[in-house]
Amino acid sequence: MLFSEETSEWKQIPEWVTFLLRLGFGWPSELSARRRIALVSMPCDSAAAGLIALGAFIRDLGIEGTNDVGQHFDSLLRYAQQYLGRCRDCTVRCKPELQGCGYVSEATGRIRSTAKPPKRYFVEGFSLVDDRHIKFRNGGTIKLYSAGATNYYIDGDPPPIIRNESGALSSEVYAQIVENANIRRENIGKSYSGLCYAGRIAGESASRAICASIRLKVQNVEYRLSDLLTIHGWSSSTSISRANFYNTRTERFDREASVPTLVVADGDEGFLKILSHPRFQRSDVIGVIHKAVDRERLEAVGTRLEGLRQWYVDDLETFGENSRPPKGIQLLVLAKRGA
């Protein structure tokens, strides 16, 4: 496998890239009481957050049950409930923070089918008791039960599963990016929301651009980091998404999903936002910052971490060799006390 950054020549994977990939890959995978928070400080602008996220992405591909299929019907039900109970009659399009409705984004009531050709439906009813179902229509009315839920998905979200092999991820590619990675075949065709990449404060375009600057060549085929992460709307090769995106600029999620087990935040401001966000209070968080920023911003991060130390302890030793970054990178890992 070869590596290139922007338009530079192809070369072997450099040490700093390997370190970041392995940091993400070696991160504990279980959502547990022993929450961990890490800070990685970089000596230059880089796609470090994306690389850590890719490492964690490959880790998740090897873990049984890392997909959204099991919760998909519940997600559709919640969506129908939000649309019919709130958004359909809401006068504000769409500022949940102004409305104070408790939701993070608008439910438009639109549902899509995974079958070809894709068709759009509109939610018109649901039931949460006994005979749990959702009713939607496009011409006729369809009553959807749990068993058939993966044939439909929320318009604007990635589908939970793909129906043919051509849209699946390539296990060979991901297996070569991190040494000894074990990719489970059942995962390569299913979306997953347990990993969250919180982008740069400059917005989604800037986040995507920095990830696109990293290229990997596997078996003579070139891949960009922005494609490999399969963030919804970033990848042209697959419609599933195994990393959800949180836009720290607009403070919006790219989908309605359950709490992620790990959030990788790109930039000091994004890191601080994630640490304060109610939705991420149980998630592990890895923040990546640039050392060459104003002192005030560095101190804001330092003060936040210092405040956490009454509940957290240093936990570098858990990471073994991954706790020894190359020159220029500094790593701090905190783990919650007493768990």
């Binding site: 404060i201 600057s213 910052i289 970054p325």
Partner: protein, 541 residues
């Protein structure tokens, strides 16, 4: 991203240790000037008299600049000192014999220094010469305003190349620079204030050698090189440099410090007192002040700037045609960058008659009167102003400055009460009454409104939330986009009238950003208005 991460890591990997060549420079006469100035600053600062505080601030600024910039020992440099304090006897009469004695001592030192080559400049020139002789690419980190003092080091033997890429002025410049050999820095390593540099100089070096030139007594900040990821449990801040040197394992960068001392020994025992660290001392007395906030200075030309609170969302225009949101709230130094335009709204004025006045209409009249009176009998005008209560010590030179025609702003007294006294003393209120449109207030008030507006002071009658105004302004700017783009292509600053049917009355002032500096500390009242850089310098400690 102008330098790739791979390039930076390749450089760091090949770096065994960063060498710090620290040159400490001493001069008996300059030391005497420092001591006298420091004592005057302290005593006037403690006087709790507004005028004393102002002079103290100005002297603090001067001495801070001398300690962090290779200024030449010439009349131009030291004249500013006499201009601030003025006549020796007047100082004695106003502030007492002890201040007068300190002032006289400082003036003796100035006389001794004037015309001599500054040893700091000698050493900076030598450092540049060595780097050039050895063919080692070098950079100079300095404040944008200090650059001329480095450029003036050029002599018959060469000196500073005129190419702009030798200089680094900001965190952003440093972030974008490719690795090089020698970094030249005058003054101590500090994260804030005069001579401030990014902490990344120590935590993420892009150079092999730091050639640091400091006046004796000026120490690096103990916590310089801050990295929140290297926190130890009980303290905030990295270990001191010596500790970093010892901790050269664990893939940490090692630092090696070599100190060389230069200086004259033609001093008496009294004059050989060890130098004090005035920069640290000034920071301590400044920190006693309450009510200041960290600030970022957005420089809009070579004489003016606007202060913003940290992380402020600054309404701004990006002239890049590919910008998705040309007008939006941006963070100075982050999303707000050089080449963009800051937008200062003057909205909500009720008096439409005043709103339609052109930039400088009122000032033209009072400036003409002021120039005439100065030319006719400056001494008498100064006497009358002092009698009326305008007690600025450097009044004569200040008035000459106020006579300058309007540029980015209208040059005028900083305080409204001083301006009112000036207008009454010039009797311009009475003579202008006939020319005022019916229904308008006193001339001086209209003229003061014009000055404030030129400084971008938002008048928000009828609006409770600045954010709501700005949201409306973004929409309005969208409609005015062709006119904004047209102006931005031709001018560095311009103003656009807000259409009457838009629901907001007023003007939008556009200023192109030519530099951004962080790490200042200023009172709330100084934010979001155009100020002269000489005035904002006092917030740099």
């Amino acid at each position: 991203m102008s330098v790739t991460a791979s390039r930076v890591f390749e450089f760091l990997q090949g770096l065994d240790a960063v060498i710090v060549e620290r040159q400490e420079i001493n001069s008996a006469a300059f030391g005497a000037l420092r001591r006298s100035t420091r004592h005057i600053v302290l005593r006037l600062h403690d006087s709790e008299d507004q005028e004393g505080q102002e002079i103290s601030g100005q002297l603090r600024t001067l001495l801070s600049e001398w300690l962090t910039v290779p200024v030449p020992f010439t009349g131009d440099t030291f004249d500013a000192f006499s201009v601030v304090l003025g006549d020796v006897r007047a100082v004695g009469a106003r502030w007492g014999a002890d201040i007068q004695a300190l002032y006289e001592s400082a003036l003796r030192a100035v006389e001794q220094l004037s015309g001599e080559e500054s040893p700091m400049r000698t050493q900076v020139r030598a450092a540049i010469g060595i780097a050039e002789q050895q063919g080692r690419p070098f950079k100079i980190f300095c404040h944008r305003q200090s650059r001329r003092h480095f450029e003036s080091l050029r002599d018959s033997n060469g000196g500073i190349p005129s190419a702009a890429d030798v200089f680094l002025h900001s965190v952003r410049d440093y972030r974008d620079v490719s690795p090089f050999d020698v970094l030249i820095k005058v003054g101590p390593l500090r994260a804030h204030g005069w001579g401030a540099v990014p902490d990344a100089l120590r935590t993420a070096p892009r150079f092999r050698v730091l050639s640091q030139l400091v006046w004796g007594g000026c120490n690096d900040d103990a916590d310089f090189g801050y990295d929140p990821a290297s926190l130890v449990r009980t303290t905030i801040g990295p270990p001191p440099l010596q500790a970093v040197v010892r901790a050269g394992n664990h893939n940490r960068l090692a630092w090696t410090v070599r100190v060389t001392r230069h200086g004259d020994d033609s001093t008496t025992a009294t004059e050989r007192l060890p130098e004090e660290d005035e920069l640290r001392f000034f920071r301590e007395i400044i920190s006693r002040h309450q009510g200041r906030r960290r600030a970022a200075l957005v420089q809009i030309d070579d004489q003016h700037g606007v202060l913003y609170p940290p992380h402020a969302r600054v309404l701004s225009f990006d002239p890049d045609p590919s910008a998705v949101e040309p007008v939006s709230g941006r963070i100075p130094g982050d999303t707000l960058r050089e080449g963009m335009f800051v937008i200062l709204p003057n909205v909500g004025d009720i008096d439409l008659g005043e709103l339609h006045a052109q930039h400088g209409d009122y000032s033209q009249r009072w400036k003409t009167r002021l120039s005439d009176e100065l030319a006719a009998n400056a001494g008498d005008l100064v006497r009358r102003l002092r009698l009326a209560g305008l007690n600025l010590l450097n009044l004569r030179s200040a008035m000459r400055h106020w006579c300058k025609p309007p540029s980015t702003v209208i040059h005028a007294p900083q305080q409204m009460k001083h301006f009112e006294i000036l207008m009454h003393t010039l009797s311009i209120a009475e003579s202008g009454a006939a020319a005022r449109p019916p229904g308008q207030g006193a001339f001086w008030k209209s003229a003061w409104t014009e000055i404030r507006r030129s400084r971008g002071e938002a008048i928000q009658a009828g609006f409770q939330e600045q954010e709501i105004v700005e949201e409306q302004l973004v929409v309005i700017c969208g409609k005015l986009m062709p006119a904004i783009r047209d102006n931005a292509a031709k001018r560095l600053d311009f103003r656009i009238q807000i259409p009457a049917d838009s629901g907001v009355a007023g003007q939008l002032l556009f200023f192109m950003v030519c530099g951004i500096e962080e790490g200042l500390s200023a009172p709330e009242t100084e934010f979001r208005v155009v100020r002269e850089l000489t005035a904002t310098d006092q917030w740099r400690d």
